[in-house]
Amino acid sequence: MSTNIIQLDDVSFSYEQSIALDHISLQVGDGEFWALIGPNGSGKSTLINIILGLLRPSSGSVKLFGADIDSFRHRERIGYVSQKSNSFNSGFPATVLEVVRSGLARKVGLFKSFSKKDEHRTVEALRIVGMADFAKRNMGELSGGQQQRVFIARALAGEPDLLIMDEPTVGIDQQNVASFYSMLNKLNREHGIAILLVTHEIDLVTDLATHVACLNRTIHFHGRQSEYKKMEDDDISRWYGHPVRRVHQHKDEVER
């Protein structure tokens, strides 16, 4: 039996007085593509920060690749793309290549320099996201969507087994969002990388994801995409706290 990549058992977290996460249990298995959806302020980013080890849960246990998070030493197995990558200092003097290569820092290890092999990995990661031609360009010259692709390449350079993304399409124009998601789909299917994607674009992403988790302080639903699709919009609206209409359901209703 393979161990879960992420295993959360009974995880709770409070910001001073208010409870942000209430007894969360969730397992992400090898090669799965999870969409974590929920309204604003539902605790999605808090949960991601706990998984990344940036926050400590008030109670409960977090395991990564079978190891307790405190003793987990293989951070290079996780690639991370934040929502805030869009707001990096665009005046920073760095080329696309330098930024992507920096994703290998941990894998290469302290006191060592990048090798030829690392250069190849960097170029390969850029090729996967379709940015190989931009390697020598300055980061500040790129559009928001291109920058986000570079940050994904940075996360991919270390050849991670798990990619965690917190609303990576914020700041990317709608035209590019679809091609961005199809790239994620490819990464998951062809490269077998497990993905945990936080998003509010429930229509686009739930078609791609193999699994869906609905969070609003607690996990209201988690399971396969097919089960999620069978849910009534009203149920989801109740969890969200406001009306939610999924596009594909509309289509079904129209066909009926």
Partner: protein, 288 residues
């Protein structure tokens, strides 16, 4: 000039020290600037002033200090100041920049007290404040060499981590790079570079050699490596022109070095403007 350098030891000391700090000050300065820590260098140099003034005062009072090179106490107080800044930044999480004026004022305050208490080290002090061509000893040169080796080893071996930390501190944390120790050592190294540079550029102007060549470099460079090379080239240019001018005019090299680097910055900014204008005209031409 060259025959003078070959025949006078003090000139050799000054020029060799100058050439070395022309490399290490802008090299470390690049990391300081992109991490938006420019003012920290200023604060630390003022803490070094307290150490220098303290050492000069004590040398009048205690025999042991009369034999001690004031640079050592200057470096020690800058290193102490760097650790205090880190502690204060931790205490004021939401107002991290508060640590800088606190430490800066503490440095000047202590410096003022020691300067007032002592009598008659005016010319010595001026040398420390604005740099000196004639006052650099062999011992000072050795200190500069040792510090340069430490700085270059630090940057050579922690380049990846420093880059990640400078570009994206959150990502550094997520990827398991512990910023605490790297940052702590970074502050100490900054204090050391200030200590190494103050004999030549002077306490009041040392932070400018760390920031102005970098300010010019990041206008031109597309890559981080490029910014590093430009910073060092501009730093060296400023030091060489500044030292030669200071020697010929018999004035403090701190002033000439800094003004030279300002002139380099102005030339670079002017060049960028001309280039920008040309690009706009070219784009318009394409439209036509």
């Amino acid at each position: 000039m060259i025959t003078d350098i070959l025949s006078y030891e003090f000139l050799q000391n000054a020029f060799l020290s100058g050439l070395i700090i022309g490399v290490i000050a802008p090299l470390l300065g690049l990391f300081i600037v992109v991490r938006r820590l420019s003012l920290i260098a200023d604060a630390l140099s003022h803490v070094a002033l307290a150490g220098i003034a303290g050492s000069l005062y004590l040398s009048q009072q205690v025999l042991f200090f009369a034999a001690l090179n004031p640079v050592y106490l200057g470096i020690a107080s800058a290193v102490g100041g760097s650790l205090l800044i880190e502690k204060l930044r931790g205490a004021y999480r939401h107002y991290e920049e508060l640590a800088i004026p606190v430490i800066l004022s503490a440095g000047i305050g202590l410096g003022a007290i020691f300067i007032s208490l002592s009598k008659g080290f005016g010319s010595d002090l001026i040398g420390y404040l604005f740099g000196s061509v004639s006052a650099v000893s062999r011992q000072d040169l050795l200190v500069v060499i040792v510090i340069a080796i430490i700085v270059i080893v630090y940057i050579r071996f922690l380049y990846k981590e420093l880059f990640v930390l400078s570009f994206d501190a959150e990502y550094a944390k997520v990827s398991g790079i512990n910023p605490r120790y790297i940052q702590m050592v970074f502050m100490i190294i900054t204090a050391l570079v200030i200590g190494a540079s103050m004999r030549i550029v002077g306490i009041l102007l040392v932070s400018s050699l760390m920031t102005i060549p970098v300010a010019a470099a990041i206008q031109l460079a597309k890559s981080f490596k490029g910014a590093m090379i430009y910073s060092i080239v501009f730093g060296e240019l400023a030091v060489i022109i500044g030292l030669i001018t200071a020697y010929h005019l018999d004035i403090a090299p701190g002033g000439t070095i800094v003004i030279t680097s300002i002139l380099i910055l102005l030339v670079v900014l002017g060049w960028k403007k001309v280039q920008g204008g040309r690009n706009v005209r070219a784009a318009k031409g394409e439209l036509v």
